[in-house]
């Protein structure tokens, strides 16, 4: 039985291993912002009431004489430095900047965006992806796989259906066929632009199973709003079973190539 996840007015559920570090920065930043805003707001409202124009009372030519504001600005700057150096930069280094090598990852796959769907490409048991050629792309061969390539014999291609196992390191190479899309897994705190002509690695690990949605975050044409995919975080056994099922159905489709 899959868990039921609730969606509301703040951050969506998080089933990734790294997501809590991003959520922590977001939540702490908002407390900091709220404190600053309320502080400024109270000062402003008090000042407006106290120094409203009254007959016989002139304005003070000199105004505030202290340098308290400089200290406050210093503290604000210091807190920003802590967020920057202590939180944001290290998290980025772990989450976005240093991809694992394919041998370090448990699951390696490709995702290729197109107007308006996500092509998911698994290498199969041999761990090798088929060669591709843009000139071969057609309705029945959306990724332009080169027929007869032995590396591609056991490849699996699905449309809008991404599966990966829980607790395993996933390495995903992202690109696009046509325009720029953005691969967005809200509940995994994963977002990356899919840019034609470039392949960008992203990696993640789930801490929980469940069924979720893939969204597109970059305007990609009139169907941008419906470029929705689905992803399922399975137990390793379920994942292996799902791969076998896909292999069986792919075998019957091989005649097309």
């Amino acid at each position: 039985m899959d868990k039921v996840y609730e969606y509301g007015w703040w951050l969506p559920p998080d089933v990734s291993v790294h997501g809590h570090r991003i959520d922590l920065i977001i939540n702490w930043l908002h407390w900091f912002m709220l404190a600053l805003f309320v502080g400024w707001g109270v000062f402003m409202v008090y000042t407006l009431i106290r120094f409203r124009a009254r007959p016989g009372v002139a304005a003070d030519y000199k105004g505030v004489q202290t340098h308290a504001s400089s200290y406050i600005e210093g503290v604000v700057a210091l807190i920003e430095v802590i967020f920057l150096v202590g939180l944001s930069i290290p998290v980025w280094a772990d989450v976005k900047a240093n991809p694992p090598s394919p041998s370090e990852a448990d699951v390696v796959l490709r995702v290729v965006g197109e107007q308006f769907a996500w092509n998911i490409h698994y290498p199969g048991a041999d761990g090798k992806f088929s060669k591709t050629d843009a000139a071969l792309v057609s309705q029945s061969n959306p990724l332009g796989l080169v027929g007869g390539d032995p590396d591609g014999a056991d490849d699996i291609v699905t449309l809008n259906q991404l599966h990966f196992p829980v607790g395993k390191k996933v390495l995903l190479n992202l690109s696009s066929k046509d325009v720029i899309h953005s691969f967005w897994l809200p509940t995994m705190r994963v977002k990356q632009d899919a840019i034609p002509g470039m392949t960008v690695p992203l990696w993640f690990e789930a801490k929980d199973t469940g069924q979720f949605e893939i969204a597109c975050a970059q305007l990609c044409g009139l169907g941008h709003y419906r470029m929705k995919g689905y992803f399922s975080i399975d137990t390793p056994d379920e994942f292996a079973k799902w791969l076998d099922e896909q292999k069986a159905s792919a075998a019957t489709e091989d005649d097309y190539y």
């Binding site: 969606y7 509301g8 007015w9 703040w10 951050l11 969506p12 991003i22 977001i26 930043l29 912002m33 600053l36 400024w40 707001g41 402003m44 120094f51 409203r52 124009a53 002139a58 304005a59 003070d60 030519y61 105004g63 505030v64 504001s69 600005e73 604000v76 920003e80 967020f83 920057l84 939180l87 944001s88 930069i89 980025w92 900047a97 107007q115 843009a134 792309v137 066929k177 046509d178 325009v179 953005s182 967005w184 809200p186 632009d193 840019i195 034609p196 002509g197 470039m198 960008v200 949605e213 969204a215 597109c216 975050a217 970059q218 305007l219 044409g221 009139l222 941008h224 709003y225 929705k228």
Partner: protein, 599 residues
């Protein structure tokens, strides 16, 4: 002497002559000889051009706002026919009143383009800058009056092209967002070519204007008007002009390249192996889509400061005048705004964190982004502290100016989680971004622009605006603007992508649909309260209470030392400047203000 020095001297002499030279601009005979079309249509008078800019840009702002009110219907009630006016739409836009996704994308792209390039910038720079800046520095006109006229007409051509593109039979207006990212924009329909053409005209217009502004501020200041005696509004226009001058040329180049990609089959932004619509695209390839983003944001981030700095300038004038005391920290504000202008050139890639950025690049752009927040905090703090010790008059312009402070504050603060790359992973390209920059530009800059209109209206027209209509306009707009934009932070936090025709398509989007509806009603309410402004504007122009003094607000800066409205040539006698811009409530003086131009 070097060639540059010689050129400088030559310019200097010619400006001296123009300043108060043999052919005096204040002799009063000048304008009597001019026929109507030279005086009011093809005028070279900076004030007429300023008003032309202001009125044109207000019309564009209203038009762009209407596009948004249409979009808000589709967002709140996806797939339902637009009420009342639904029948007016063609089958290519909204058959049976139900908006098509491609039409939604047109409205989105054109709302952004019109508001930024045809509305806010022309109003704050072309309108206010043109009208007020020469008056405040004590100049008879701009340094290059004909260039000034040209910049307005080039702007109007650009704007006309943009609006006409809605009527293109094949696909209508541009629909790739105001950012026009290729390859989407290159494979898009005809409207995008018109968009690029329109942009080329608008950029050209801005370049003409910025050269003129810089020259005027450098050379046409009245005697005694040193740089540190300039009203802060002039400083804001000065820095803004440098941003326009230095940031727009890269976009002009980029727009030309994209135009060539579309029309002459080049591939500057198209990579090899592109497959569009299921078949390999017939292109040579070898280009890079990210090149556009770098060139675009190299303009568009400074552009954000082009949107906000003139607003700060207007607010500063009004706060000093209505607190009846000098500005707190004028010098630190001047240094802050110069630093802000400089830093705005090195933060652009924080718009591109999700394109696949390594450690060093993200570290650099996060750091510069945090650094640029400091001068913004200094500006905001100085204005807040300026209130302390004042004798605050709550006039209509002051109400808008005061509201600007917390509204810009929200806009600025919500930039923090976007400017730090890690939290940006969740918030990038969501409604959070929309909320963030609209707080900066709508209840921020636009409130400042309304403040400026109410403040300088008596000088430009010679009549007062109606105070009660102004107050209704203010309180209504203040409440509604927050209703529009505050829910967006929660939508974005929930993960809703921006630019979605129907966000209920996603589970996390459907969960915040109530907020979308609230936001839409806020937008329509905001539209309703603008009617009070429109009525006030036109009725006051012809029937408002006449001003009894040339200086109805008891202000200090030089624009109030002119006759009302100022004639061609501005001042009756060459003005001189004797002191800083905000000498209010000087101890020992009987009046609570000491004008810059009086001994």
């Amino acid at each position: 002497m070097s060639a540059g020095g010689g050129l400088y001297l030559g310019l200097r002499i010619s400006f001296q002559t123009r300043r108060w030279g043999t052919e005096s601009m204040s002799d009063g005979h000048h304008h009597e000889e001019l026929p109507f079309w030279r005086k009011y249509i093809f005028s070279v008078d900076h004030k007429v051009i300023g008003i032309q800019y202001a009125v044109t840009s207000l019309v564009f702002l209203f038009f762009g706002f209407c596009l948004m009110m249409l979009m808000r219907w589709q967002l709140a009630y996806p797939g339902q026919p637009i009420p009342f006016i639904g029948g007016l739409f063609s089958d290519a836009t909204a058959p049976g009143g139900v908006m098509l996704p491609e039409y939604y994308n047109q409205l989105g792209a054109m709302h952004g383009t019109i508001m930024v390039f045809l509305g806010v910038v022309p109003l704050s720079v072309g309108g206010f800058g043109n009208y007020i800046m020469p008056l405040q520095i004590g100049a008879p006109d701009m340094a290059f009056p004909k260039l000034n006229m040209a910049s307005y007409w080039v702007y109007l051509i650009g704007g006309t092209i943009m609006v006409l593109s809605f009527f293109i039979p094949e696909g209508g207006a541009a629909q790739s967002g105001w950012t026009s990212y290729p390859p989407l924009s290159v494979v898009a329909q005809e409207g995008q070519t018109w968009w690029l053409l329109g942009m080329l005209f608008l950029i050209f217009s801005s370049l003409l204007g910025s050269v003129n502004f810089i020259t005027t501020i450098m050379h046409l200041r009245a005697p005694g008007m040193t740089m540190m005696r300039l009203p802060f509004f002039v400083w804001a226009q000065f820095v803004t002009s440098f941003l326009l001058l230095l940031a727009f040329p890269p976009l002009q180049a980029a727009a030309t390249l994209q135009f060539m990609d579309r029309v002459f089959a080049t591939s500057f932004f198209l990579p090899t192996g592109l497959v569009v619509g299921g078949a390999p695209a017939a292109i040579s390839g070898g280009g890079n889509p990210l090149l556009w983003q770098h060139l675009f944001w190299f303009l568009a981030h400074p552009e954000v400061y082009v949107l906000i700095l003139p607003a700060f300038g207007i607010i500063t004038e009004i706060i000093a005048n209505n607190t009846r005391k000098p500005l707190w920290g004028y010098k630190s504000m001047v240094y802050a705004i110069c630093f802000l202008g400089f830093m705005s050139f090195v933060v652009w890639a924080h718009h591109m964190f999700m394109t696949g950025m390594g450690n060093f690049m993200s570290m650099f752009f996060q750091t510069t982004t945090m650094i640029i927040s400091i001068p913004s905090v200094i500006l905001l703090t100085a204005l807040l502290i300026s209130l302390w010790g004042g004798a605050i008059r709550f006039t209509v312009p002051m109400l808008f100016a005061l509201a600007f402070l917390p509204m810009f504050g929200i806009g600025g603060l919500t930039g923090l989680p976007l400017g730090l790359a890690s939290p940006d992973i969740h918030l990038h390209d969501t409604y959070y971004v929309i909320g963030h920059f609209h707080y900066v530009v709508a209840p921020g800059t636009l409130f400042a622009l309304f403040a400026g209109i109410y403040y300088w209206f008596p000088k430009a027209v010679g009549r007062h605006t109606n105070v009660w209509l102004g107050r209704i306009h203010f309180y209504g707009s203040f409440v509604c603007a927050n209703l529009v934009f505050m829910p967006m932070f929660f939508q974005g936090m929930a993960g809703t992508s921006r630019r979605l025709y129907d966000q209920t398509f996603y589970t996390h989007g459907a969960a915040v649909q109530d907020l979308t509806i609230l936001s839409s009603f806020g937008a329509w309410g905001l539209g309703f309260f603008q009617l009070f402004f429109i009525v006030n504007f036109f009725v006051s122009m012809f029937a408002g209470k006449k001003v009894e003094s040339d200086n109805p607000w008891d202000a200090t800066t030089l624009e109030w030392a002119t006759p009302t409205p100022p004639p061609h040539g501005n001042f009756l006698a060459p003005p001189k400047c004797y002191r800083g811009p905000y000498e209010y409530s000087v101890p020992g003086m009987s009046a609570d203000f000491q004008p810059q131009g009086e001994v």
